[in-house]
Amino acid sequence: MSIATIPFKGTKEQEEKLREVIKKHTGENGAVIPVLHEAQDIYGYLPIEVQKIISEGLNVPLAEIYGIVTFYTQFSLYPKGEYEVSVCLGTACYVKGSGTIIEKIKERLGIDVGQCTADGKFSLNATRCIGACGLAPVMTVNDAVFGQVTPADLDDIFAKYQA
């Protein structure tokens, strides 16, 4: 049920922005990773089309770019849902039961970690410690943070996004 196969829909403006980013970093030592970060901010993910532009712009082989993108978990080859649901599986959250929370969300959305619902609404992500361990177990939906989550809270949390 993943929407990984949707065609690339980058706009002219996005491409212009990316080219500016590339220009800014050209000639800099170790520029690839900073450029990838900024490219992901622009497009939301790093499809092969975007990697190609970067490869040509920075004059770095595409295979090397691809190798870097797939090495780091922050970089995504696939678009995310409108709402990105992340459950922390860091130690502090895990010992407080975040494993159960993520299982319940998988059931609820019918997707696995790393996937996106067919309507493109929700994607599910397992993160490692967002630094709010004091509020464990923690989950986030886009920028909103929910602390001390119990399975019973999930109805209320998802109700906010299921309009």
Partner: protein, 617 residues
């Protein structure tokens, strides 16, 4: 900034302007904890409400500021009020609704609001709580005190004085000697003597050298470095400049994980301000010393916390480790001599330079000097950030500072060192926390994550959890780690599924030692530690899984048995209708039973029963 005099003049002016002077006659200062966890708990609306209210009441002599981590995560959002000549008052679990009462009662009428404060029957400061009594704040000295986005406040608290002192009064050798004499050891996990590392880099030959900061904070469940960067970013910047002077570098990099957007933002602001003041850049304090800093974002790979991988990642490549030697001090970033220290290590430096090596060495134990910051999490009442003198016992941390285990449960073990570390069982609760004592019991200091577990946590499951982490994070470069950790995980899964044999336990142990001795980098070399330490202290729990096919903590799903208690069962049939595999049968109004052979342990029946008649064993 051209001279020490200029710095001091600025300090004095800020002390007056921002109601920071301890002996001031008037002027109230209100701070709101706005680190990640405060913001997550809802601090922003509180700050906004305070600003609005203070403005509406035309309280010109009241300053409202954001600050970093006050440290008591459990009580966030936190607001503190500093009045002249009095102990501060700490308000906890703040909401925007509580603001008007605090402003009208406390700020205007001078009557602190006891019910909102941390005290139980009177208005109190956190300083009066047991949580703070045993703490000593060196690395965290400014966190939760100053506004991290205002360099003037850092300067008001003696910021950049140490840099001025180092540059104008000390030789490079003096600086290194002072750090050596202080006994400071690396806070990133390894515990290597910091002064020695500085000396190696100083002595290494190179036309260019670099100073780097490890802010990758990979241990999941640890947030010490984040708190320092969010609460006191200049402390790290100043220390890196001092290090640059000592080792002979003019460029530094801070490698920080992208998962910490607030820390990144505050660092950017801080670097910008330091440049503006001439505290970074050319000819600092008119001494001819040049130093500048850049930020590099990590991208979610635990192995990039390892020093050689980190440097490879800054160079823009896949962050794979390489064999050492050569050590970074000799051949680091772009092949040049490079100094790499952890955030907390740096956070101690300015204090050491200002107060002297002896002052620092007077804290802690013989071989572990100073203090250590811990992120206290898991099954503990006072989750939060604590800084304690080395040598404090685990008992003091858990029972006093941490306020014990919630819900009257029993303390079982504490994990330090994260996925590279080990557990400390309840029987060793009197172990002093220092590098060597922890090593001796098969755990390690680590970077400061301290996760508390109670009787409801299964130690085999915890070992499996860490192995899942390392399998995921192994970079795959060498086979002992890539394949070995997978095998470890398979055996652990077999055990938690109730299919393990006694031979598996031996196999597990042998494989652990094989991986430890042959993996290329620290990740693989330490990955077996959680397995070895749980095997050492909780072998009975492993055996229960293997021999009795039972999980004593009732965590491992495959070993759980759901049973209907005939005394409590009302025979309503609700559970039977919920069961996905029709494992439950019975007659209405008499007790139902579960067919264990059919049951897939989904737990659906237990959550449906309205009478609490279904137990998990």
């Amino acid at each position: 900034m051209k001279s020490l005099a200029e710095l001091q003049a600025l300090r004095d002016c800020t002390l007056d302007k921002l109601n920071l002077r301890k002996d001031r006659k008037e002027g109230i200062r209100i701070v709101v904890g706005m680190a990640t966890c405060g913001i997550a708990a809802g601090a922003r609306p509180v700050l906004e409400a305070l600003e609005r209210e203070v403005k509406a009441q035309k309280l010109d002599n009241v300053m409202v500021m954001q600050t970093g981590c006050i440290g008591m995560c459990r009580l966030e959002p936190i607001v503190e009020v500093y009045e002249p000549g009095k102990e501060k008052i700490t308000y906890v679990h703040m909401t925007a609704d509580k603001v008007s009462k605090i402003v009208s009662e406390h700020i205007i009428n001078g009557r602190p609001v006891a019910e909102y404060s941390v005290g139980t029957d009177k208005a109190q400061s956190v300083n009066d709580t047991v949580f703070y009594a045993k703490q000593k704040r060196v690395a965290l000295r400014n966190c939760g005190v100053i506004n991290p986005e205002n360099i003037d406040e850092y300067i008001a608290f003696d910021g950049y004085q140490a840099l001025a002192k180092a540059l104008t009064e000390m030789s490079r050798e003096d600086v290194i000697q002072t750090v050596k004499d202080s006994g400071l050891r690396g806070r990133g996990g390894g515990g290597f003597p910091t002064g020695m590392k500085w000396d190696f880099t100083y002595k290494a030959v190179g036309d260019k050298k670099y100073v780097c900061c490890n802010a990758d904070e990979g241990d999941p469940g640890a947030f010490m470095d984040r708190s320092v960067l969010e609460g006191d970013p200049h402390a790290v910047i100043e220390a890196m400049a001092i290090a640059g002077y000592a080792v002979g570098a003019d460029q530094g990099y801070i490698y920080i994980r992208a998962e910490y957007p607030i820390a990144v933002e505050r660092l950017k602001i801080a670097i910008g301000q330091a440049r503006e003041y001439g505290l970074l850049g050319k000819d600092i304090f008119g001494t001819g010393f040049n130093f500048d800093l850049d930020i590099r974002l990590g991208a979610g790979a635990f192995v990039c916390g390892e020093e050689t991988a980190l440097l490879t990642s800054i160079e823009g490549n896949r962050g794979e480790p390489r064999p050492r030697p050569p050590f970074p001090a000799v051949k680091g970033l772009w092949g040049k001599p490079t100094l790499l220290n952890n955030v907390e290590t740096y956070a101690n430096i300015a204090q050491i330079i200002l107060n002297g090596a002896d002052w620092f060495a007077s804290m802690g134990t013989e071989k572990s000097k100073g203090t250590k910051v811990f992120a206290l999490g898991g099954k503990i009442n006072n989750t939060g950030l604590v800084e304690i003198p080395m040598g404090t016992t685990l008992r003091e941390i858990i029972e006093e500072i941490g306020g014990g285990i919630p819900n009257g449960k029993k303390f079982k073990a504490a994990q330090t060192g994260g996925p590279s570390g080990g557990c400390i069982p309840a029987s060793l609760i009197d172990t002093p926390i220092d590098y060597d004592s922890l090593m001796a019991i098969g755990s390690m200091m680590g970077s400061g994550g301290l996760i508390v577990m109670d009787e409801d946590n299964c130690m085999v499951d915890i070992a499996k959890f860490f192995l899942e982490f390392t399998v995921d994070e192994s970079c795959g470069k060498c086979s002992p780690c890539r394949i070995g950790t997978k095998r470890l995980l398979e055996i652990l899964t077999k055990i938690t599924d109730g299919k393990g044999t006694m031979e598996d336990l031996d196999k597990l142990e042998n494989l652990c030692y094989a991986i430890k001795s042959s993996a290329l980098c620290g990740l693989g070399q330490t990955a077996p530690n959680p397995v070895l330490s749980t095997l050492r202290y909780f072998r009975d729990e492993y055996e229960a899984h293997v021999k009795d096919k039972k999980c004593p903590a009732h965590v491992c799903k495959a070993l759980a048995q759901y049973k209907i208690n005939p005394e409590k069962c009302k025979g309503c049939s609700l559970c039977a209708r919920q069961c996905p595999v029709n494992a439950i049968s019975g007659e209405i109004k008499s007790p139902f039973v579960i067919d264990q052979d059919k049951c897939i342990k989904c737990g659906a029946c237990q959550s449906t029963c309205k009478f609490g008649a279904i137990d998990k064993e």
